[in-house]
């Protein structure tokens, strides 16, 4: 049977996901076209990292389907899933570099595990990947000797070691200084275009990601509340999107965590009552 190649590398159809009884995703639909950089944004706990884990096959949806390159990820056997993952790269929030290996060995890891290439070829490939992220000179350093931004760049070089068709980014901008922020943002875009890959960026950093992505999905409490190109998002009239993009303090997402009335918590009502009766 011939496999029909869709324009979308990743497709999420009506996916629900529950941890025990708590619904994390409540029927989401998303498409990630080939060659594009697409961002999933939302507050912490909105379900965006869960979506990324579903795409990577780390979690299985409670219902619905997640397809990568036309194949339903959650129905694959372990070996098939591993075959698919060899064509994916993932950048973790804090890099997740192997702390007992040097920068060079971290980037060489997958090449050594999954290919029969000679050490000489591996060396050349690793240096090319490190050069792409600007850290060829740091090849002999250990992860503990790197700054946060450098570690993220090494992890990026490691993620693209096998020239993946899909690169997943989990909060790539978290905790970075402004310069590193710009560097990582640029690298995400440049590497995606150079490799002809598709990138999915899960983030809550609006300003940085809107500069580099082609399309944005906004999530809140397990549903997609808005979507569009960066220009459409910037001009969106939706309250949630405006609050998020412009960092407004109050809006659909309240400043105050729900709780008892303020006066009650400060026992103001309790104090007033006895005074009244004492003089009565």
């Amino acid at each position: 049977m011939e496999t029909v190649l869709s324009d979308n590398l990743v497709e999420i159809d009506n996916v629900e996901f529950r941890y025990d009884v708590r619904a994390v995703l409540k029927g989401i639909d998303m498409q990630f076209p080939r060659g594009r950089v697409v961002s999933i944004m939302g507050l912490s706990g909105c379900g965006k990292t869960t979506t990324l884990k579903l795409i990577g096959g780390q979690l299985k949806p409670s219902s619905g389907q997640v397809r990568v390159a036309g194949r339903p990820v959650h129905q694959l056997a372990m070996q098939e899933l591993y075959d698919l993952r060899r064509r994916m790269g993932m950048l973790f929030q804090f890099g997740a570099l192997f702390t007992d290996m040097s920068v060079f060995d971290n980037v060489a890891f997958q090449l050594r595990e999954h290919s029969e290439l000679s050490e000489r070829t591996i060396r050349d490939l690793v240096l090319m990947k490190l050069n792409a992220v600007g850290l060829r000179g740091a090849q002999d350093l250990m992860p503990s000797e790197l700054s946060g931004g450098m570690a993220r760049r090494v992890a990026l070089a490691r993620a693209i070691a096998l020239d993946p068709m899909l690169i997943l980014y989990d909060e790539p901008f978290a905790g970075l200084d402004p310069i590193s922020l710009g560097v990582i943002g640029n690298l995400i875009r440049r590497l995606n275009d150079a490799l002809g890959a598709t990138s999915i960026v899960v983030t809550h950093d609006v300003q940085e990601s809107l500069k580099i992505v082609d399309y944005v999905y906004f999530m809140s409490e397990g549903v997609v509340v808005a979507q569009g190109t960066p220009a459409q998002i910037m001009e969106s009239k939706e309250d949630y999107v405006r609050q998020f993009v412009y960092g407004q303090m109050d809006g659909p997402v309240p400043f105050q965590y729900p709780g008892a009335p303020y006066a009650q918590d400060l026992r103001l009502e309790a104090r007033v009552a006895p005074t009244g009766t004492a003089h009565g």
Binding site: G56, Q58, L81, Y82, D83, R85, R86, M88, M90, F92, Q93, F94, A96, L97, F98, T99, F109, Q110, E113, H114
Partner: protein, 264 residues
């Protein structure tokens, strides 16, 4: 009052179910480690590296402890045996105590606290820093890459460490009994040679140390792999490794000794 009883019963129920669930999970984990040992063996240099970390780096504590335990056995044994005029038998006493019991047991307890706790902490931290997930996402099986080599390193190291512990202990006993207290060297060694049986004493000790090696390493690896990915989670798992594997070693020692006991 009723509420209290219901809560207490519910708590007991939860504890029992959790315990059984965890035992089942640990058994499945252990089975998986065995099933995926093939890929682990294909990465044998990794196992050799782990033998260095778990075995070679434990040598100092094992050798020094063995020496002192042997010296104490020499002193105590001499003190008791000379009352019956058979001080030469101190060699037999030291050798049999070490080879049959103290060598495997004390070496396993030291191994649990020195190498087992390190394995748990290392794997727990790898999990907390997403290194295990990263491996899985790179299509590399973490059980075969991380757990397998450590497991076999522990199983291979343990009998060797126990043997070195016993050898060092016998040397300690010799220093005290022969060099310090003047027991005849010929009688010390010949009585030992005559009374220590290869199959019933030495081999039984080796079997014990292999079983302890499996138990301690499997517990340490499971605790690390199952540790909640937080600072408290990893520290709790490390403590549980030392406590559980020490208890397991002592309990298994009784069971194995009962099976190996030849009667009078």
């Amino acid at each position: 009052m009723d509420n209290f009883i219901v809560r207490a019963l519910r708590h007991i129920g939860h504890t029992v179910i959790d315990g059984i669930w965890r035992l089942g999970y640990a058994s499945r984990f252990f089975l998986l480690v065995l099933l995926r040992s093939g890929p682990s063996f294909r990465r044998f240099p990794l196992t050799v590296r782990e033998i260095y970390f778990a075995g070679v780096l434990s040598l100092i504590i094992i050798l020094v402890s063995g020496l002192f335990v042997g010296m104490v056995l020499g002193l105590q044994g001499y003190d008791t045996l000379q009352r019956y005029g058979s001080a030469e038998a101190v060699g037999t006493l030291v050798a049999l105590s070490l080879v049959r019991e103290l060598g495997p047991v004390v070496a396993a307890l030291l191994f649990a606290s020195r190498a087992g706790s390190a394995m748990t902490a290392e794997i727990g931290l790898m999990k907390a820093t997403e290194q295990i997930t990263a491996l899985d996402m790179m299509a590399v099986d973490p059980i075969a890459r991380i757990v397998g080599p450590r497991f076999w390193a522990g199983v291979i190291s343990m009998p060797l460490l126990a043997a070195l512990f016993s050898a060092m202990g016998i040397f300690g006993g010799y220093l005290i009994a022969v060099v310090l207290l003047g027991v005849d060297a010929g009688a010390f060694w010949s009585q030992m040679q005559a009374s220590v049986d290869l199959r019933n004493d030495v081999m039984n000790g080796v079997i014990k140390s292999i079983v302890f090696g499996i138990a301690v390493t499997a517990i340490a690896l499971f605790e690390g792999y199952d540790a909640p990915p937080t600072a408290e989670g990893v520290s709790g798992a490390t403590t549980r490794t030392v406590v559980t594997s020490s208890l397991a070693v002592l309990a298994l020692d009784f069971v194995l000794t009962a099976f190996m006991f030849r009667g009078i």
